[in-house]
């Protein structure tokens, strides 16, 4: 059984081998219930992801970006967050969102096409709006973290981004500003191997995590399909940041098993053999084996999580397809706190009561 392919010497932290056997200290400071909880979230997330693909194929969602294969990277990192922290996602972090407590139906209104951004409350959930412009959310995280620092709050911003975003200028600006201002921020890269059709080897010539040294912050690479290693790495970075130790760059090596989005056809640019190699490194199966072998969970627990997932996605689907179209006035209602007269005129014209 293989391991994530890297062509460099940069170390990759790991707690579990791909077959679920411990390869290091597996005590990450979680109770048995919380350890089972990580499996539960991953099972719920994958089931939801599959349902979203189906909903899109059935015309119930617009374009959808699946995250299958990245469950450990998202669940492990999101589970490490504290309530006062703030997440700045890109657009593929549905698994992280549900762990954070964001209502799945509300989140999916974004992909349903009923509202931009995701109409959940970012401040209440600690989860910023879904962010499509690549890497731009990283700088928001730095600004928010600077605010937390100025207020003396022990809170940390965690920004998700992909390997593709690591080539954007905003990645550099965010990393540099985070380090210069020594803000409580974690820049969490899910390196899933592909920026739509462009593989990692055509995107960067050195490990993303290795860049941290150039900015003056710790850089850690972790096996992104090892939920325990992701959890531990993220929690250490968050705790260091909240204690005033500054930012951390984390690179989680994982893989996007599905297409970039439902509008993408990966058979045009990658071999099925590569996908199969990564399926064998499945994060859920790896962790399930570990929990069963260590006696933390049994088959009944797993079956219960799967049953819960089934019921839950059924409810999500039902609520989602029952969503109505927002009233036309919504187009105008949230642009300004106090809309100018010229916009009020356009509103009246659009709504037909001019």
């Amino acid at each position: 059984m293989g391991e994530p392919e890297t062509n460099d010497e940069f170390p990759t932290l790991r707690c579990l081998a791909p077959d679920g056997t411990p390869v290091g200290d597996t005590d990450v400071g979680l109770s048995e219930e919380d350890l089972r909880g990580l499996l539960r979230w991953m099972i719920l997330a994958r089931r939801l992801d599959h349902e979203c693909m189906a909903l899109q194929r059935q015309g119930e969602l617009t374009v959808y970006p699946p995250f299958e294969g990245q469950e450990a990277a998202q669940v492990g990192s999101a589970a490490a967050l504290a309530p006062q922290d703030m997440v700045f996602p890109s657009f593929r972090e549905l698994a992280a969102a549900i762990v954070r407590g964001v209502d799945a139906v509300t989140y999916l209104q974004y992909h349903r096409g009923t509202w931009h951004g995701g109409p959940y409350d970012p401040l209440e959930t600690g989860f910023a709006p879904i962010c499509v412009p690549v890497a731009t959310q990283l700088v928001h995280a730095v600004g928010w973290a600077l605010g937390a620092k100025l207020d003396g709050r022990p809170a940390c911003a965690l920004a998700y981004f992909g390997d593709g975003a690591a080539s954007e200028g905003d990645f550099h600006e965010a990393a540099n500003l985070a380090a210069v201002f020594r803000v409580p921020a974690v820049l969490f890269c899910q390196n899933n191997g592909w920026a739509i059709s462009v593989p990692s080897r055509l995107q960067f010539a050195a490990p993303i995590a290795a860049r941290a040294a150039g900015y003056g912050m710790p850089g850690v690479r972790v096996d992104g399909n090892d939920v325990l290693a992701v959890y531990r790495t993220t929690r250490e970075a968050l705790e260091r940041a909240r204690a005033g130790g500054g930012p951390t760059l984390i690179e989680a090596l994982t893989y996007r098993l599905g297409p970039h989005t439902t509008a993408d056809d990966p058979s045009r640019y990658r071999d099925e053999a590569e996908v199969e190699r990564w399926r064998a490194l499945d994060p859920i199966e790896r962790y399930r084996r570990f929990l069963l072998a260590s006696g933390v969970a049994d088959e009944d627990d797993v079956a219960a999580f799967e049953a819960e997932a089934e019921t839950w996605v059924g409810r999500v689907r039902a609520e989602l397809v029952a969503l109505g179209t927002p009233p036309p006035s919504e187009v105008f209602d949230h642009v300004f706190a106090d809309p100018p007269a010229s916009l009020a005129r356009q509103r009246a014209e659009a709504l037909g009561d001019a």
Partner: protein, 324 residues
Amino acid sequence: MPEVTMVAALNAALREALAEDPRVLVFGEDVGELGGVFRVTQGLQAEFGRERVFDTPISESGIAGMCVGLAMAGFRPVAEMQFDGFSYPALDQVISHLAKYRERTRGRVGMPVTIRIPSFGGIRGKEHHGESPETYYVHTAGLKVVCPSSPLDAYRLLRLAIADPDPVIVLEPKSRYWSKEEGELTAEGPGLGRARVLREGSACVLISYGAMVARCLDAAAGLEAEGISCTVLDLRSLSPLDLETLGGAVRAVGRAVVVHEAPLTLGLGAEVAARIMEEAFDHLEAPVRRVTGWDVPYPPASLEDVYLPSVERIARAVREVVAY
């Protein structure tokens, strides 16, 4: 009455905003120790400390992006882009996020952010230091854009911008930074979205903003001697436009000339002219004329005067419109 420069007026506006509201932060390139390359932030770091007034790396997208995050964290950021031409790397953050955040969050997360941009030409600057970026911002829904023409109004507009719950781009006319005006600094008076009539006449309305307002006033003074009396309308607010004041002024006179430094094509004059058609067509005695920069890159210092609307170009356009 005290006399202040625009730099001093802007400095006072920032100082008072910092003093009144502990959530106000001032940051940008060289705004701390140096006090800004134009000294607009002079003395503020010494007075309010390095946490509230601070230098950033040369990182315009980062500056604008941090405004978004700081606003989410409950702050009221006032950022400086050092020059017009240097604000372009931040456009993605401004257009994609700053302008849209309130809407994307259904009003839950507003962006009480002010971005100050020393703008326009007329100071014999190098390339990239004489740009007129207003159309980029005016064309972006969700932003307010203001441009003062005088020191007292610069103070007023900056205070109003900082107090506003939505993002405001303040385009400061560099060539007027050292102009002086007598009077008390006050935020009272015309509001953020209002235009001002600076001079009333019966032959033609000169519509402008920023540094070109002074040239319009000079042109109007010269034309008065020829028996052509002009209204001079200072738009102040480029977005939203004050259609009420604009329409009223043109309906009263029936002739209009729009003046700006920005290139002609799709400059703000195009929008103003179209609005005049909608607001005052039945009152027009002549086609609306535009006196603007040319559709060329801003020229080097020695050729600046070829580009910028001169008092004579403005006066000639008025004479033609009046003679139509």
